[in-house]
């Protein structure tokens, strides 16, 4: 090429640009006469130089030439352009990228005005692959002067950062989810009243425990946690359950005793799960433990109550058996026996009513005598009860009640209450014995106004119960005298005033 070659010596330039990859070939073949640039032969040297330079760059570069910003770009940019390429070549930038026409309009004005623009991670919505797509780019625009030194075009280095930005965004979202999950976890830990704890993979070390006032806190890792929280006699069994969970790599779950913050024994329901690392190994255990002390105490109390109830039922059956056996042994006839038995079982049941208060509750002497005789007397004025009230033990009350039942049924069948006018007097007093010692009780049951009485030919169960049973019960003497005017029963025994359990 000679230095004086002018426009009027048109030389086809099939050699321009030299090389330049796919885009070099496309530019050579393109009919530039359809654009504002005209055929390549007419291009100013400045345009050719820049074109050659950008074609050699591995970085996506586009040249926007003239007022219209006619586009010339390299292979790297064609990849960025997607399906817009190859139509983009030689097109006006505002038409080639209609969705960002305003943006490019600004670029052209600034660039042709001699200014530069730089955008980092600029977010744009492009339509490169048949649909709108959110992309991020680092964009650097510089003016390109022509031979006169005035800006004739704008060169843009376009580096897409979408992939990095998406990765960053994904990471940010993941972090956000972790932060939310962490916040939810904190809320859960704060909302629960459970003790929360963390253990090392082998449970030898407690990393932390928030005791919630139920247990003492462990704030720094401790290998002495067993002695801190567990009683020595429980440790082996609890460690057994822990070892099983470690071996199974499963849930640890156990109700066990613990030493509470105040040192007292309590009960907890504890549950921990293993947290696994990326390699599937246990990293640590996370657990929660609730305070079930009150529930365990209630269960224990209930067991005691059930045992006691069972005992009382057995005892009552044994008493019923005893009463039945002796009723039949002494009965004149089956009818008599049936009648006596059912009446005695009623008396037992009523006496039991007296005792159904709390175990060990005292029962009043007057109450026992009234309750045992009331079902039998023909009218209230035919029974007189008089004496100083005091407390009996439940056991003595039961015996007294049964004895009074026997005396009452006897009075109703044969004695003062069998006729129209007879009266029963039940009087008692407390007196000091002549030779000193504890006070004594003397109770006298006296019947008058009934039919004349004769000594019975044989002693029945009732008589035996009173004379022998009640005497042994009270540790005294009980005497029955069948006097002609009426039966007299005298009970003389040491006074045992029952002090309620727990009373001083």
């Amino acid at each position: 090429m000679s230095a004086d070659a002018g426009p009027d010596a048109p030389v086809p330039s099939p050699d321009f640009p030299h090389g330049g990859g796919d885009l070099g070939a496309l530019i050579r073949a393109f009919d530039w006469s359809t654009t504002g640039l005209g055929p390549i032969v007419g291009w100013p040297q400045s345009l050719k130089t820049v074109t050659n330079t950008l074609l050699l760059s591995p970085v996506p570069i586009v040249l926007l030439w003239g007022e219209d910003g006619v586009m010339i770009y390299n292979d790297a940019y064609s990849v960025f352009a997607g399906r817009r390429h190859p139509r983009l070549l030689g097109s006006k930038v505002r038409e080639g990228w209609p969705e960002v026409a305003d943006f490019n309009d600004h670029v052209m004005k600034v660039g042709l005005g001699g200014g530069t623009l730089a955008y980092k991670d600029q977010e744009l919505t492009l339509n490169r692959h048949g649909g709108p797509e959110q992309v991020w780019m680092n964009l650097d625009y510089s003016p390109v002067p022509d031979e006169s030194g005035r800006p004739a075009g704008v060169i843009a280095i376009v580096i897409e950062t979408s992939e990095r930005m998406r990765a960053e965004r994904r990471q940010e979202e993941a972090l956000d989810r972790v932060r939310q999950s962490e916040a939810r976890f904190r809320a859960l830990v704060n909302a629960t009243s459970d003790v929360v704890y963390r253990m090392s993979a082998d449970w030898l070390e407690m990393k932390a425990l928030d005791g919630r006032g139920f247990l003492s806190d462990t704030e720094t890792p401790s290998i002495r946690w067993m002695d801190e929280y567990l009683f020595p006699e429980d440790q082996a069994a609890i460690w057994g359950a822990i070892s099983d969970a470690i071996e199974a790599r499963g849930v640890f779950q156990l109700e066990h005793r613990v030493r509470q913050a105040d040192g007292a024994a309590g009960w907890t329901s504890s549950r921990a799960i293993p947290l696994m690392g990326a390699g599937g190994e246990i990293v640590e255990w996370f657990g929660a433990a609730s305070d079930i002390t009150a529930r365990r105490e209630a269960e224990q109390h209930l067991r005691l109550v059930i045992n006691e109830l069972n005992h009382r039922v057995k005892n009552n059956l044994a008493m019923t058996q005893a009463v039945a056996a002796q009723t039949f042994r002494n009965a004149g006839s089956i009818t008599d026996a049936q009648h006596s038995l059912s009446s005695r079982i009623s008396a037992l049941a009523q006496a039991n009513d007296l005792l159904t208060g709390a175990r060990g509750a005292a029962v009043s002497m007057t109450g026992v005598l009234d309750q045992a005789t009331r079902p039998h007397y023909p009218s209230p004025e035919r029974r007189r009860i008089e004496g100083p009230d005091f407390s009996l033990s439940p056991k003595t009350a039961l015996s007294m009640s049964l004895a009074m039942h026997e005396l009452s049924t006897n009075a109703l069948k044969y004695g003062a209450w069998s006729g129209q006018d007879g009266v029963v007097e039940i009087c008692w007093s407390i007196y000091p014995p002549e030779r000193g010692g504890p006070e004594r009780l003397k109770l006298v049951w006296t019947e008058h106004g009934g039919p004349r009485v004769a000594e019975p030919s044989r002693r029945g169960f009732g008589t035996r119960l009173i004379e022998r049973g009640l005497a042994a019960e009270m540790g005294g003497v009980v005497q029955m005298r069948f006097e002609p005017e009426g039966l007299v029963c005298v009970i003389d025994a040491p006074l045992t005033v029952y002090a309620e359990e727990g009373a001083a």
């Binding site: 045992n307 005992h311 058996q321 056991k395 049964l402 022998r468 049973g469 019960e473």
Partner: protein, 115 residues
């Protein structure tokens, strides 16, 4: 062989039944104690071949009575409404009959203890 048997039982009706049963089995009731002090005294002083002990005597346990009988070489058996769990350690292997019991139960228990 007729045995003199001490009956320690705090429930009046059951005590009387035991007296009857002991007699029916051909033995002789040697006494009836319904409270601990009385039982201790009778265990110490009565001439006895055997004793039937209720475990709970109006809230007090009868094991001190068993101790006296043990020292005197008098065999005994327990009668209780509780299971054998209610028996204190030194006497766990002793014969226990559970209330309510039949005449046969009592007879067998007496024979075992007396043997």
């Amino acid at each position: 062989m007729s045995l003199r048997i001490l009956i320690v039982e705090d429930e009046m009706t059951i005590a009387l039944l035991l007296e009857d049963m002991v007699s029916d089995l051909g033995h002789e009731p040697a006494g009836l104690a319904m409270r601990l002090p009385q039982a201790l005294q009778m265990a110490e002083t009565e001439r006895l071949d055997l004793a039937i002990l209720d475990v709970n005597l109006d809230g007090r346990l009868s094991f001190p009575v068993a101790e006296i009988l043990e020292r005197r070489g008098v065999p005994f058996l327990f009668a209780t409404g509780y299971g054998s769990g209610g028996i204190e350690a030194p006497y766990r292997d002793r014969v226990v009959i559970r209330k309510p019991f039949s005449l046969e139960d009592l007879g067998k228990a007496i024979d075992r203890v007396a043997a």
